[in-house]
Amino acid sequence: MDFTLNIEQQALADNVDRWHQRDFSFEKRQAFLSTSQGLDPARWATFAELGWLGAGLSEDQGGFGGSAIENMVIMERLGPALVTEPIVGAAIHALQILAALPFSALRDDLVRKTVYGDLIPAVAHSERASTISDDLVETQLDHGLIYGNKTMALGAPHADVFIVSAVSEGRLGLYLVDRKATNLSLASYRLLDNSHAADVCLDGVEPRTALATGVHAAAALEEGYSQALTAICAEAVGIMNATITLTGDYLKVRQQFGQTLNQFQALQHRMADMLVEAELSRSIVFQGVAAAGYPLDRRRHAVSAMKSIVSSAASFVGQNAVQLHGGIGMTEEYPVGHYFRRLFVIAGQFGSEDVHIERMSANAQKFWPDNRAG
């Protein structure tokens, strides 16, 4: 094991930090939010040029020789920038599903276009009754047409294509559907973090092609889901740390009762608890990344443990950061409220703490890890 960034990873991390500070300050983000719908095409092109969209793929998969580690590095650093573009939805969830499919010329084409920013895919998998990859899919493929309702497809309003899960004669499949396909409609919305998503209504939609069926489809979904989970958890770690720094700086200057707030032990101890939550979250994200190499049941157990911890920590840190700021923390014009909103969304995204605790419990009946690490 080695927990230090190598030279390339450090350069990547610095690269993201630099971009954040130079090109996407809080003020620039505020201006962008007031005029836009969550995606700036020029910014998406920049992400592609900087190599971030394909950073988590090996060269074999059509990426730049990276892995989940690179995605973790990017997401942790990118977290405090609070970008609203669908990095997680398109460049991690959808892209990792595509990359996990059996080889085909089509797959390679989709991956390449996504990595270079020429195509934005979105995953239309969740349904009202299911938030986790191995849950039941009710959407049907019947005589070549897809019928069903998908919820919370991240980045769907910006998407060119959808990866749609559907069942045909009891067999799960993944299908490629064009945004402009007949009988496809979107109900778009904006999340509390100012990113955009949509419910996707498929009322007899003809897919462009089947991407995979059966075990291949299930495995690709699993891969995409686990990678997306890990990515938002890494993002949460970055935001938690930024939140704690911001709050600490505020406590050191804000005066009440003739002294700065950092003199009050009740507040010091709350901050210590927030730091502990953030540090333990970072630790378990490493475990989530390591889990990419685990057998299936153990990997599920590992990523659910990760998400349950991070969901809880994100809530704790976000809530308390606003509390320690007092009234200013409630305002739109100050960053902590925006960190809070993104942490709030991450806590519930891809399954809440409860969902993952339940998944661990169910999984534990089948599997009990002996000496998980070390």
Partner: protein
């Protein structure tokens, strides 16, 4: 970055596991599954077995009996000991005094004391806390005055773990009252057989005996039993407490506890099914397990690099804070898994830890269940000793967060 366990470390774990399976005596292993403190004779037998293998004190310098293992190997070794429920060794001698003597003791002191610690010929206790010096340790007032070639010690220590059978004590004593409190403290080794020492056992709410009061009345200590320099004791104490930054996370203990809870909850009935099938219980167990994983990976981070924010001292605070909380919760959950039997006083069937020797025993025949409620009571102390968790929070706020 790379999160794979190396093949060499995997092989090392297998080697340790094999050794313990072959060498840990069956009767000790059976008592080890009980949740009382390890019995003195069990510890002594087991330490001698480890010492013959050269594994009694892996963290000591090699020339003094250590193994030269890197941090991760020492962690794996501990992890396997806990997994096998082997007796918990003499922590005061091995983990606390040993490194201090190795770093600051004279050659004569090292030769006199260290081999006897390794072979458990002499058992040590730590004389730090006093009735009016708990969290505020530097205010301690037990004093030592040099008269000729002896120190004359007067005062009182409290919460002294295993003082009831310790042969020796290393103590912080006041040797100067003029300057800053920290600057007038020295580190002294005291023979517990000395005239003028009185021990009084303190039975704790687990009905067990681990801590004591120790009184000193004109106790004569040879001058050459001062460790290091006069009035540098506070530095040595800080070195001692900071020497092992990951051990106070007690993560291997708590991993073992989680396995125990899983076992107990799989056997115990609750309503019409098993305890483990109760969704509320299962959720608590899963949550605990997730937190233990996070703690373990925090320990791994410290062992492999020093990737944690802030200084080493603060990292130790973080691990101690969360580690003690999880340890307490694991013990409570084990009692919870026993249902109503989780409310029952459990005297040690081997009669080694009984405040009330003629007490009733509950009808429990599962070695893993025996002593669970005593543990649930004793573990309440985890967030108090070794620096209360409130002290740790203050340290984190000041050192890492700069508040």
């Amino acid at each position: 970055m790379n999160f794979e366990v190396s093949a060499d470390d995997e092989a090392f774990r297998a080697e340790v596991r094999e050794f313990i399976a072959a060498e840990l005596p069956d009767d000790i292993a059976r008592r080890g599954a009980h949740d009382y403190h390890s019995a003195y004779e069990d510890v002594r037998r087991w330490m001698r077995i480890l010492n013959r293998k050269g594994w009694a004190a892996p963290h000591w310098p090699e020339e003094l009996g250590g193994t030269g293992w890197p941090g991760i190997r020492k962690f794996i070794f501990q992890d396997e000991l806990r997994r096998a429920r082997a007796p918990v060794l003499d922590r005061c001698g091995l983990d606390l005094l040993g490194p201090v003597l190795a770093a600051f003791g004279s050659k004569a002191q090292q030769e006199r004391f260290l081999p006897r610690i390794l072979n458990c010929d002499e058992w040590w206790c730590q004389g730090f806390s006093e009735p009016n010096s708990g969290s505020d340790l530097a205010s301690l007032s037990t004093r030592a005055e040099l008269k000729g070639d002896h120190w004359i010690v007067n005062g009182q220590k409290i919460w002294t773990t295993e003082a009831h059978y310790a042969d020796w004590m290393f103590a912080l004593v006041r040797t100067d009252s003029t300057g800053k409190p920290q600057a007038g403290i020295s580190f002294l080794m005291i023979d517990m057989k000395s005239t003028g020492i009185t021990r009084r056992p303190i039975w704790t709410i687990d009905e067990g005996l681990t801590v004591n009061e120790v009184f000193f009345e004109d106790v004569r200590v040879p001058a050459d039993q001062l460790v290091g320099e006069l009035n540098r004791g506070w530095d040595y104490a800080k070195f001692l407490l900071g020497h092992e930054r990951t051990g106070n996370a007690v993560v291997s203990h708590t991993k073992r506890d989680v396995e125990q809870v899983r076992h107990l909850a799989s056997v115990a009935r609750r309503g019409t099914g098993r305890c483990i099938d109760n969704p509320a219980f299962a959720a608590k167990l899963a949550r605990l397990e997730a937190e233990v994983i996070a703690l373990e990976w925090s320990v791994l981070r410290v062992l492999h690099t020093d990737g944690h924010t802030g200084s080493g001292e603060a990292v130790a605070s973080l691990l101690k804070l969360r580690g003690s909380e999880l340890s307490e919760r694991a013990a409570l959950l084990a009692a919870d898994a026993l249902g109503e039997y989780g409310l029952v006083a459990m005297p040690d069937p081997d009669g080694l830890h009984n405040m009330y020797p003629h007490s009733l025993s509950p009808p429990i025949n599962d070695d893993e269940a025996i002593g669970v409620t005593a543990k649930a009571m004793f573990r309440r102390s985890m967030s108090i000793y070794g620096g209360t968790n409130e002290i740790q929070r203050t340290l984190i706020a000041r050192t890492i967060l700069g508040l």
